[in-house]
């Protein structure tokens, strides 16, 4: 059992490192098991390495996404749902985020809730929701309705 976890960790850390590099356009990451538990290290391109709690809101969001994408490679789920995971991302990072989700959607079903134009422009299908007469209504299931 412990050996399974060790081997999983090795693969997970490698995948995490790759995802960080892809999402941030450089740098790298590492997952390491210590007495404290599973520690996460992220090194961003052209930046001095700092502990992950000092990362910005947007940087934490992308690092978390890198972890999720790494986990997907090891233990795939049939469905992924992201509720405003791009809330703190700027325009450039929204594009990186939605392109990563697009890649993920080739291997799994992916649904993302978003208010960001830069994200919504890139998806294959858009479902609109509104509140009318005190009830939620689906207003469209269409291709690129928002662009």
């Amino acid at each position: 059992r412990e050996e399974v976890v060790e081997r999983t960790l090795e693969r997970l850390s490698g995948a995490f490192d790759e995802q960080i590099r892809l999402l941030f356009g450089g740098g790298g990451g590492e997952l390491r098991l210590t007495e404290r538990g599973l520690e996460m290290r992220v090194r961003l391109p052209s930046k001095k390495p700092v502990s992950i709690d000092s990362l910005s809101g947007g940087e934490k969001s992308l690092s978390a996404l890198a972890f999720i994408l790494a986990a997907q490679r090891l233990r795939p789920s049939s469905l992924y749902v992201f509720d405003e995971a791009d809330a703190m991302l700027d325009g450039v990072n929204c594009k990186r985020y939605v392109r990563a989700l697009k890649e993920l959607s080739k291997r799994a079903q992916v649904v993302a809730i978003s208010l960001k134009k830069e994200t919504l422009e890139e998806v294959d299908h858009l479902i609109g929701v509104t509140m009318r007469d005190g009830e939620s209504k689906i207003v469209a299931v269409s291709r690129e309705a928002a662009s």
Partner: protein, 150 residues
């Protein structure tokens, strides 16, 4: 396996809705308070989450105000098969799971969903405001995530 259609009856802000999910990357958008997160809640509800994980202090709060029962059905395509998995909250407050219309235990439904690859965890279902928690959690908590992934 793929989630083809979500059918919602009197769940949270939805009175009646049938939501087909097309293939490819799907986005849900709309004004604040329109019901986007409630759709995620509807899926997670059928997949076993309890009220407190769905922004409700008890099961009754998941039922649309003014109604006395709620039901969400997920139409799943698994290779050639089409399977309906649903969960109902009866007026008594009792919860009932069904597969293709037949009553099943929660355990049986969770097992079936897991077999079809539906892993409903914090690293597959990211709820609103929760994305950074993977980075902000303690190493001990993250070690538990590793356990789940292994």
């Amino acid at each position: 396996a793929a989630l083809d259609i979500i059918r919602i009856v009197n769940f949270k802000s939805f009175r009646r809705a049938v939501i087909p999910l097309p293939a490819g990357l799907v986005a849900i958008t709309g004004p604040n308070g329109s019901g986007k997160s409630n759709i995620l809640d509807a899926i997670a509800f059928v997949m076993g989450w309890r009220a407190s994980r769905l922004r409700a202090s008890k099961m009754e709060n998941l039922v649309r105000k003014g109604s006395n029962a709620a039901e969400v059905s997920l139409l799943i395509r698994n290779s050639a098969e089409r399977i309906s998995v649903s969960r109902e909250i009866r007026p008594s407050g009792e919860g009932v799971y069904r597969v293709n219309g037949k009553r099943r235990s929660a355990t049986e439904v969770m097992e079936l969903l897991r077999e079809m690859g539906f892993l409903v965890d914090r690293y597959t279902f990211v709820t609103q405001g929760d994305i950074t928690s993977i980075v902000e959690m303690s190493p001990r908590e993250r070690a538990r995530l590793l356990e789940e992934i292994s």
